[in-house]
């Protein structure tokens, strides 16, 4: 050791530390002090939820519009998206790695693939559940098929589509917690940083649940706003 170190590392006597934390209790004080370490993971988690659902919605919408005209497409699309749906996310995160490497791309591709079945099926069901009389009335008024689709069928299918979005979003929040296995971040990564520390697990897990609830309410709110004629029904 060269020279006499005047400045030195302060060694604290063990046992002097915060008792709640070192005995692994549930520590509200620690949580309040350290809550901002969860900020970045939370934002990452939001990204890992919103982006896949948005992309999944775009793809499903395109597929649903195609399948609306050509009914025979529905079966194959549901079958294929069903296969994606059944493959566990952890497995998918690894199966994709030879192709897309370790990181957010892999997580995105997998998460998008899970939303397809739910959203696609809900859009198609919503469109098909429009009563035939309504369609006929619209056609009778001189609207083209396309106009009927966009001005009548889609608006009437909004509840069903929104339901699909809500389910897809909640599911994706849950699956995004596993994105750590794909090399992405998120609240799941934060859980694994210290999966024995009770406060950490409760906060990270709790934030995920609250996030899902928040998204759920937002989409429900959007649905109510978009369908004023339905407000009288629960």
């Amino acid at each position: 050791m060269i020279g006499l170190p005047i400045a030195q590392l302060q060694i604290q006597k063990p046992g002097g530390a915060d008792d709640c934390v070192s005995s692994n209790g549930f520590c509200p004080e620690w949580i309040a002090e350290n809550i901002d370490r969860y900020w970045t993971p939370l934002l990452e988690h939001v990204y890992l939820t919103v982006a896949p659902v948005a992309i999944g919605f775009a793809i499903s919408l395109a597929l649903a519009i195609m399948a609306h005209r050509r009914r025979w497409l529905t079966g194959p699309v549901i079958a294929i998206s069903g296969i994606f749906f059944a493959i566990p996310s952890v497995a998918a995160f690894f199966l994709l790695q030879p192709l897309t490497g370790l990181g957010y791309t892999t997580a995105m591709v997998a998460l998008v693939s899970y939303t397809l079945l739910i959203i696609f099926r809900n859009i198609t069901d919503g469109l098909r559940n429009v009563p035939a009389e309504t369609r006929d009335a619209a056609l009778g008024q001189g609207l083209t098929e396309r106009q009927v689709l966009y001005r009548v069928e889609f608006p009437m299918a909004v509840p069903e589509i929104m339901a699909g979005l809500r389910i897809a979003t909640s599911t994706t929040v849950g699956l995004a917690a596993l994105a750590v296995f794909a090399g992405a971040g998120g609240l799941g990564a934060e859980i694994l940083v210290d999966k024995r520390f009770k406060s950490n697990v409760v906060v990270a897990g709790g934030l995920a649940v609250l996030l899902a609830a928040a998204f759920d309410l937002m989409i429900l709110g959007a649905q109510r706003a978009m369908t004023p004629w339905r407000r009288s029904r629960a």
Partner: protein, 326 residues
């Protein structure tokens, strides 16, 4: 349905409030340094050299546990204090991943244990690893050099495996001092270790063959949490674990057969990176770790693991307390 959602909204609002308050508040952990760092240390303080900023971004890596995070941060901040642009790639994962990243150039340096390097990268059998810390370091250094990597001087501390248990378990076993005695007289004790340990010769498999361990293996990285929760009787702790200082709670056993190889830290740095950053920067990287003995490392680990501070803050405090930075 609405009332549940209302409750959830209230909880969300409370959480937003907490986030807001935390953002405004001051959460600097007060560790209280000793005194003036400036005057007596003559040359210890790191100065910023503006020329370093243009030397490109240096990628500092680390593996994925507390000690590695701390060390990675210390090295990264040492470089930053000199004005280098640093990209952190901490949490790389296992040593295989880290070494691959180092060889390929994805990272420029990361801290590795001499014993791990020898057994994992250079295919030395556990039993053949030199028991002397310096010999092990020299051998690792020579092997690293063949791969165009410089292994900087080893740290004073080593972080080898130590078998530990609760004091209660030790008392029940009549307080054996060595691992041999422990296993010989108490064959039913279970031991917990990180999942990889189950299939490693320098871990569980070696314990079974060399020490005649007959008990159950619990695959978990809970270490002392496992002991506290009764999930296992013994655990494979690290010698720099802060809990080992709590001698009224836990007991450790001597590795009398010297089964575990030496595990000193050596910062492996790519030769081209070493040239790029210059000898002075390399010397600084060695200087900051000069006083890192077991006690110091245990203290740093304690701050992260028991006080739950962030490794980045702990590293910054370390550099400050040791007088390297302001």
């Amino acid at each position: 349905m609405t009332s549940t959602y209302r409750k959830i909204l209230v909880a969300l609002a409370a959480l937003c409030l907490m986030f807001g308050l935390a953002a405004c508040g001051d959460d600097e952990a007060d560790s209280g340094s000793t005194g003036d760092a400036a005057t007596e240390d003559g040359g210890k303080a790191i100065t910023k050299d503006p020329a370093n900023a243009s030397k490109g971004t240096i990628a500092v890596g680390s593996k994925n546990f507390t000690e590695q995070f701390i060390l990675g941060e210390i090295y990264a901040q040492t470089l930053e204090a000199q004005g280098f642009k640093v990209r952190r790639r901490l949490n790389l994962g296992s040593e295989q991943v880290a070494y691959k990243a180092l060889k390929s150039g994805s990272i420029d340096m990361y801290p590795e244990y001499t014993g791990t390097a020898l057994t994992s990268f250079f295919k030395v059998k556990t039993a053949d690893v030199p028991k002397d810390a310096d010999e092990a370091y020299e051998q690792a250094k020579a092997e690293y050099a063949k791969n165009n990597i410089t292994a900087l001087e080893r740290t004073p501390f080593q972080n080898t495996f130590i078998i530990a248990s609760t004091k209660a378990t030790a008392d029940k076993a009549d307080n054996p001092k060595t691992v041999t005695d422990l296993f010989a007289n108490n064959p039913d004790l279970s031991i917990s270790g990180f999942p990889e340990c189950r299939q490693r010769e320098d871990c569980l498999l070696g314990l079974r063959s060399e020490y005649g361990f007959k008990g159950k293996f619990v695959s978990s990285d809970g270490k002392f949490s496992d002991l506290d929760g009764g999930q296992s009787d013994l655990t494979l702790a690290f010698s720099t674990d802060p809990q080992l200082a709590l001698t009224d709670k836990y007991a450790a056993y001597e590795d009398d057969k010297k089964f575990f190889p030496p595990y000193n830290i050596t910062l492996g740095i790519r030769n081209d990176t070493a040239e790029k950053i210059g000898q002075e920067a390399v010397d600084k990287l060695v200087a900051v770790q000069e006083n890192m003995d077991e006690e110091a490392m245990r203290e740093l680990n304690r701050r992260v693991e028991l006080e739950k501070q962030e490794p980045k803050a702990v590293a910054a405090a370390f550099l400050k307390e040791e007088g390297f930075t302001e």
